[in-house]
């Protein structure tokens, strides 16, 4: 490979273009999953009751799932984000995959309970069945320290530095907001503090700080 080739190769990685591609791919993935869910329900209903309406849903869902799925397969983004395929890098990316899987595993008991009760448990702030809550909190409590340790162990110093910065921003915001809300509530100015609202604010702040530190 000649020097100009290498320069082109290096310049070819465009973060904004990569994320546009990734977002577009994720939206299409949602359509493919919706198609899969439609097919699943159509097949289940057909097996239990039969009839043309179920076939109609299958006729919509099957091409949606197959065609979108094939297109997604052909245009799958390079999840290395321009990074070299090193042991450390691959382990670091595996942790990101593990984070997503843990998220799904935590949501699964709640979604299962949700389908049994016919409510919207996942996105509500109401009570959930004790077994679902216990399963979700045990997964979170066991997985988070391991993922945190592995993330720091396999990340390079820049990655760890960016993570430390984003945690500092999120923590500082939490330290700042929590007493204001609490004292304001006791003074009768604000509604009762909600820990999950503070958690989401801190999470958003950490994500913005992380991306700012990496790409700004």
């Amino acid at each position: 490979m000649t020097k100009p080739d290498r320069q082109t190769d290096e310049d070819a990685f465009d973060v904004k273009r990569y994320f546009r591609h990734l977002i577009g791919w994720s939206v299409l993935l949602s359509f493919a999953l919706i198609g899969g869910v439609l097919v699943f329900f159509a097949v289940r209903q057909f097996l239990t009751s039969g009839g043309t309406p179920n076939l109609l849903i299958a006729l919509i869902g099957t091409p949606l799932m197959v065609l979108t799925g094939y297109y997604l397969y052909r245009t799958m983004p390079d999840f290395t984000m321009g990074e070299p395929n090193t042991k450390r890098g691959n382990r670091s990316r595996s942790i990101m995959v593990a984070v997503v899987l843990v998220g799904l595993a935590i949501g699964f008991p709640i979604i299962t309970a949700d389908s049994e009760q016919g409510g919207a448990l996942l996105w509500s702030n109401g009570p959930i069945p004790a077994t679902a809550a216990l399963a979700a909190l045990l997964i979170w409590a066991a997985a988070l320290p391991i993922l945190h340790f592995a993330g720091r162990h396999y990340g390079d110093e820049h990655t760890v530095g960016v993570h430390d910065f984003s945690m500092m921003v999120a923590g500082s915001l939490f330290y700042y907001l929590a007493p204001i809300w609490w004292i304001g509530w006791r003074g009768g100015f604000f509604p009762q503090p909600d820990v999950m609202v503070l958690f989401v604010i801190a999470l958003i702040a950490a994500t913005v700080a992380n991306y700012w530190k990496r790409f700004a």
Binding site: K3, R6, D9, E10, G82, E83, P84, T86, R88, G89, S92, D156, E157, H158, T159, G161, R214
Partner: protein, 64 residues
């Protein structure tokens, strides 16, 4: 802190990804060091110096 990392890398005809492999860091880390957004730790600075067979002070310069 200023540094000559980009020049030294270009002299060896390495991409950022190739230098990242040599240093066992991410390409983002190499980019952040080259653009002055991240000052490497002493251990990484020594690794860089050993890789290019140069003293640290010939690669990194204090801005003052």
């Amino acid at each position: 802190m200023n540094n000559r990392l980009k020049v030294l890398r270009a002299e060896r005809d390495w991409s950022q990804a190739e230098l990242a492999i040599h240093l066992d860091v991410s390409r983002q880390a190499v980019n952040a060091i080259e653009t002055g957004k991240h000052d490497p730790s002493l251990p990484l600075a020594f690794r860089i110096a050993r890789l290019f067979d140069m003293p640290i002070e010939e690669i990194f310069h204090d801005e003052a």
